[in-house]
Amino acid sequence: MKSLAKSDKRTLLFVIFIAIAAPFLLNPFPEGSAMAQFNAGYPDLMQRFAYFGVLAIGFNILFGLTGYLSFGHAAFLGVGSYSAVWMFKLLGMNIIPGLILSVIVAGIFSLLIGYISLRRSGIYFSILTLAFAQMSFAMAYSVLTPLTNGETGLQVYADDPQVFMNENSIAVPHLFGLKMQDTFTLDIGPWAFQFNIGYYICALFLIAAFYMSLRIFRSPFGLMLRAIKTNQTRLNYTGINTRPYTLAAFVISGMYAGLAGGLMASMDPLAGAERMQWTASGEIVLMTILGGAGTLIGPVLGAGFIKYFENIFSKINETVLHGWFAFLPDGLENAIVWVLHFFVGKGWHLTLGLLFMAIVIFLPGGLMEGAQRIGNWWKNRRAKGKTSSAKTTPAE
């Protein structure tokens, strides 16, 4: 902690606070109220926020700092998941071996892909990573079926070796006895806040991942990565070999993705190949850009934003809409519901797409730029207020 600047310490504390208080912050509406479906404070979704946050933080180390746009990061996520599930199958349901293996395997895998892809930059690099990820996806479905269990997905069966387990062992993912699925519900009046062990484990990793990325951002290594983004030619003529730097960034972000995949499998011990598809890779890119590439918190916000939409907006169907607009005359109600139903339920992608377009056009720096603008506007307003009051005082 000593090694951080004051403002960075504040950012870290902010992230820690958000992570710990998430069950409260994400559940602002009382149970049973009309707004309750906008609550995001249930275990499944909170876990998703956390491990996709880890994923986006890692992706940001590559894309945000060096500007190399990888379109194949989902491959590392998938590899991480498969590794973790294999550990569950072979050793037992404690998540630690799974997480360690997922990071190591994703690291090796990204070293391999990075070594080849980083021979090119710009669009060619993106295409190479995309090709590798699609290749991994296709192979997971076909020739690698013994490793991945193909379309069914890799899961834990009763006849798996699980050498560290006996008949008294816990049969669900756990951390030394703490079951991931265990949830403690705190009822305060009409509110029900859920505290889930799995979420807090993920949040712990999120905080650690964030701290590491903070250190990298502020280090000489991070400075070099940012220099790669602005001018590689100058860096070469300054005596820096850029290849190992980009490769290191690629491997680090691949390991983050592996960790996210491991966490994903730890929350729900099942790994499918669709996790490696290019749409999943694209989603990671969206998260980072939406939140603000190159900023510290942006990618986490972006991940949360997209996952919120995916899980909340997709649940709103026509019946719910009719419920909301029941007070209107029938014809008008039907018309409004007809218009809105394109944007919710199965159509949530449309809403997300429009929002994404709006953000990219009006806030190229993502949500973080929006936050900054609001902050500046607020500061200016306060400063103006002060000067005008200062001017009026002598007159009185």
């Binding site: 090694s3 951080l4 600047a5 250190r215 990298i216 502020r218 280090s219 000489p220 290594f221 991070g222 400075l223 070099m224 940012r226 220099a227 983004k229 602005t230 001018n231 030619t233 100058r234 860096l235 070469n236 003529y237 300054t238 005596g239 820096i240 070999n241 850029t242 190992p244 730097y245 290191a248």
Partner: protein, 252 residues
């Protein structure tokens, strides 16, 4: 024995012979100017020194070591820095960060996985970068983003970046092009003082004869890919071959 020896270098692009049997000997501790009309091959020659181009034939020796086939970053690590014709700086980073990067490169080499230290606590690097910014008179602008500076300031920044590495040989490609008179003069002063203080060898390409004659201790004149004259500045001024190269044969 010069610090940089160029022997019989040839380079052609398709049918165009950019360099023909170029011989050059840059002495240690001197400022050596390379002049010549447009298209004479000056920049091509410089590109052959820093690993951007590889000559078809011939040798380029720096301190007894061949520079051919070596990557640009390795050439820099043995002590050759280059200032470009159009400033190559890290335009999205602050002025101070711009100067810190070469200092890191000098101290830590071509690659170090220095991911846990803080840039803020690297005292020696910061002091060195600050000194350098004072030298080039940019210390007031240390927190500015480099891209928002004037062209002259960008050039001075790039020079500071190269000088902060204390190279053995500094290559300058038209360091005063596009500068206002006052900036040009301060740049000349800067190069002179640096040269006297640190005894850095410099090879300088320049069109502005005022700059050339106030800085150079030796001048090579390049025309159509060959060195036609190499002599002391006072002998270059009235040299018939130089006049011919610049004004064309009809004028002689």
């Amino acid at each position: 024995m010069g610090i940089l020896e160029v022997n019989n270098v040839n380079k052609s692009f398709g049918g165009l012979k950019a360099l023909q049997n170029v011989n050059l000997d840059i002495e240690e501790g001197k400022i050596h100017a390379i002049i010549g009309p447009n298209g004479a091959g000056k920049s091509t020659l410089l590109n052959c020194f820093v690993g951007k181009l590889v000559p078809d034939t011939g040798t380029v020796m720096f301190n007894g070591q061949s520079l051919l086939g070596i990557k640009p970053h390795e050439i820099n690590q043995v002590g050759v820095s280059r200032v470009f014709q159009t400033p190559e700086i890290f335009s999205e980073l602050s002025v101070f960060e711009n100067v810190m990067i070469p200092c890191f490169a000098k101290r830590d080499g071509a690659f170090t996985l220095n991911a846990l230290n803080r840039v803020h606590s690297e005292q020696d690097i910061r002091e060195r970068a600050e000194e350098m910014l004072v030298d080039v008179n940019l210390i007031d602008k240390r927190d500015m983003i480099a891209s928002s500076m004037s062209r002259g300031d960008k050039r001075r920044l790039e020079m500071a970046m190269c000088l902060s590495q204390q190279p053995k040989l500094l290559l300058l490609d038209e360091p005063t092009a596009g500068m206002a008179r006052a900036d040009t003069e301060s740049t000349i002063e800067l190069l002179k003082t640096i040269q006297e203080r640190l005894k850095i060898t410099m090879a300088i390409i320049e069109h502005d004869m005022g700059v050339v004659f106030s800085l150079a201790q030796k001048i090579s004149v390049l025309a159509q890919g060959t060195v036609i004259v190499e002599d002391l500045p006072e002998n270059i001024k009235g040299h018939p071959k130089v006049k011919e190269a610049y004004l064309g044969e009809a004028q002689v």
